[in-house]
């Protein structure tokens, strides 16, 4: 198992946000996390990444058989976990280019090729996330992830605020990031939060999970789950409890 989350309970500002969450992701698998706003999806991603705001009360997170429950964020990143943020902070005076050049480019493509595939060249000399539109933020996040080249990719609503044309670009890049072009040798895994079906077309997700009030209450075929949610809402999807 690449990632194993067992009985995870997490507090934010002394309020319980996740309760007894269990989740297993194997090599090469893409999982989708559905759920209402405020159900705890982003918190789960932040807890996996190790953000200090998420206090782990109970449970365990294992990545590549290493207990990472209390590891610092950067060590988790070095082990191979990477995250695309929904609303990343602005870092004034630091250009995207300044950050990218601190990374070791582990991927197959040169940074220039990646930048071109995302149509992102003009933003390389801009301050990180300063005045970026929704779509520009997502591209900047994906660019960083591609260069970082993690094995487990956490994507928090990669399509929010992105126009239809750019969804195509972003979708293709995510597909590549998750090695969807490979069948047998695929080892990269993903955990993706989404509210729309748009990105599902590119993800070829293996499994869906539904979160409600800080718990994962059911799992299943992601497309079927999405259709149920779209037609009948989250509560109805939760009721089936397969």
């Amino acid at each position: 198992m690449l990632l194993a989350i067992e009985n995870l309970t997490v507090e934010i500002a002394e309020k319980e946000v996740l309760q007894d969450v269990n989740l297993m992701i194997g090599h090469g698998e893409t999982h989708v996390l559905f759920g209402k706003n405020g159900s705890g999806k982003t918190t789960l991603l932040m807890a996996i990444m190790g953000f200090s705001g998420c206090r782990i009360i109970k449970g365990k997170i294992t990545f590549k058989d290493i207990d990472i429950t209390h590891l610092p964020i950067n060590e988790r990143a070095r082990l191979g976990i990477g995250m695309s943020f929904q609303r990343p902070p602005t870092i004034r005076g630091v250009k995207v280019h300044d950050l990218i050049r601190t990374f070791n480019n582990n991927g197959e493509e040169t940074i220039e090729q990646i930048v071109n595939s995302l149509h992102f060249k003009e933003f390389m000399e801009r301050d990180i996330n300063l005045g970026f539109s929704g779509g520009e933020i997502k591209k900047s996040e994906l660019l960083q992830l591609i260069v970082q080249n993690p094995e487990l990719i956490l994507l928090d609503e990669p399509e929010s605020g992105v126009d239809l044309e750019n969804i195509k670009i972003i979708g293709r890049v995510i597909k590549k990031l998750l090695q969807k072009n490979l069948r047998r040798q695929r080892f990269k895994a993903g955990l993706v939060i989404t509210h729309t079906g748009l990105i599902l077309n590119y993800l070829e997700a293996d499994k869906g999970h539904l979160m409600l009030n800080g718990r994962i209450i059911c799992e299943g075929n992601p497309r079927e789950m999405f259709e149920t949610i779209e037609k009948r809402g989250y509560e109805e999807c939760a009721r089936c409890q397969r």
């Binding site: 200090s52 705001g53 950067n74 943020f85 990343p88 902070p89 960083q144």
Partner: protein, 404 residues
């Protein structure tokens, strides 16, 4: 005795408005004489390296002129472009019969004990005059260097930019590496005439027990621009300055940028004052300050005297250690309706969100902090030639590395 000296005598004990009071008698008024050298390249390797850290190049490439004052002796003065005059202040006073139209015109000699001392115990300084329409190809560099232990250096500089001229000055102020104690008093008068542009970039690199009291006044005429960049990132016991800019003509522009790092034991009280006195005048004061244990007061004052002027003031400070202190004191003074002035001030720590965001990309906490700090100090110095911008970025990068 001249009237200037008489007036100065009355103010010899007058405390300054800001900053700790300094006992001027605890510094030596005499210094050994240093010989003139026609070539900066002849300076010792150590000295050359040291002055390079404040932007002074020993090679004359990419510099229109060079001036160096060591203690009280002008040791070098050369210029390589027609229309640009660079002299020691003493020589200029001789040549122009005491410069009656300019000498002590922009600043009152009895402002405080420091201006008074600069008058009664005047050592030397630099004088730059740019002829009408002349544009300096490269910056003129001036270096004010203290090498004698415990001495006072009383300087008076003057810059006259005639109509439609353009000048960049890099002033590097520093002390010999071994030096402990010293006092630098520096009066500077800038006269920027119609349509002229002057950029003054000051890089300071002081020692542990050095006291610094610059007194700068700038007069800016119609359509003229004054830009000041002040960078001080090394230890100094006490620096207090509050340069004053008067935008006297229509559409005159001033920009004052300050980048400061106060290490433990440093006491920096630094600001800028711009008085907007004609329609269309514009001003911007930006300061970025960091303390790693020292004390900083970041002042800013905008005075809107007439309608149809626009100005903005921004003070941001980061406190990176338990002992440091930053006081941001932005002040707006509007005297009439029709002025448009604003300010923002923020003092705090680096946001945890930013650090953790960078850590999620694999940077250690320390690396993330250093990157954010460099970004914070990286003020966009608009209108600066690339060469100068690179110079400042290099200084920020180098000193940033040693502080963090």
């Amino acid at each position: 005795m001249s009237t200037i000296d008489e007036k100065a005598e009355t103010a010899l004990k007058k405390k300054a408005l800001y900053g700790p009071d300094i006992d001027l008698d605890s510094f030596k008024s005499d210094a050994v004489h240093h010989d003139y050298d026609p070539d900066l390249a002849n300076f010792s390797t150590g000295e050359k390296k040291h002055i390079a850290e404040v932007g002074i190049l020993a090679s004359h490439d990419e510099r229109t002129g060079s001036f160096m004052l060591k203690d009280h002796s002008p040791v070098h003065c050369s210029v390589g472009q027609d229309g640009i005059e660079l002299l020691s202040m003493r020589d200029a006073l001789k040549k122009y019969n005491g410069l009656p139209d300019y000498w002590w015109k922009a600043i009152e000699v009895d402002t405080d004990k420091y201006t008074a001392q600069a008058a009664v115990a005047f050592h030397d300084g630099f004088f730059i005059r740019v002829a009408p329409g002349t544009k300096a190809q490269y910056p003129v560099q001036t270096c004010l260097y203290i090498s004698g232990e415990g001495i006072a250096q009383n300087i008076h500089n003057m810059v006259i930019a005639e109509e439609d001229s353009e000048l960049h000055i890099i002033t590097g102020c520093t002390t010999a590496p071994h030096l402990k104690k010293g006092l630098h008093v520096g009066v500077s008068e800038f006269y920027i005439k119609k349509g002229a542009t002057v950029t003054s970039t000051m890089l300071h690199n002081w020692g542990e027990e050095i006291v610094v009291r610059p007194r700068t006044t700038v007069w800016v005429e119609e359509g003229a621009t004054f830009m000041s960049n002040y960078v001080c990132m090394k230890m100094a016991k006490s620096v207090q300055m509050f340069p004053s800019v008067r935008l006297m003509g229509k559409n005159a522009v001033a920009r004052i940028n300050t980048v400061l790092v106060a290490t433990k034991g440093s006491d920096l009280d630094i600001g800028g004052r711009v008085s907007l006195e004609a329609p269309g005048a514009k001003a911007e004061i930006i300061s970025r300050t960091i303390t790693t244990g020292g004390s900083i007061i970041a002042r800013g004052l905008l005075i809107g005297q007439v309608a149809d002027v626009k100005a903005h003031l921004e003070c941001s400070g980061l406190i990176l250690s338990k002992e440091g202190r930053i006081r941001a004191i932005p002040e707006l003074d509007g005297l009439v309706t029709g002025v448009e002035m604003s300010h923002e001030a923020a003092v705090g720590k680096i946001s945890q969100d930013e650090i953790e965001y960078l850590m999620s990309r694999g940077l250690s906490e320390q690396e993330a902090t250093a990157l954010i700090v460099r970004g914070f100090l990286n003020v966009k110095l608009e209108g600066l030639p690339k060469e100068l911008q690179d110079e400042i970025e290099r200084v920020i990068y180098e000193t940033g590395k040693s502080v963090f």
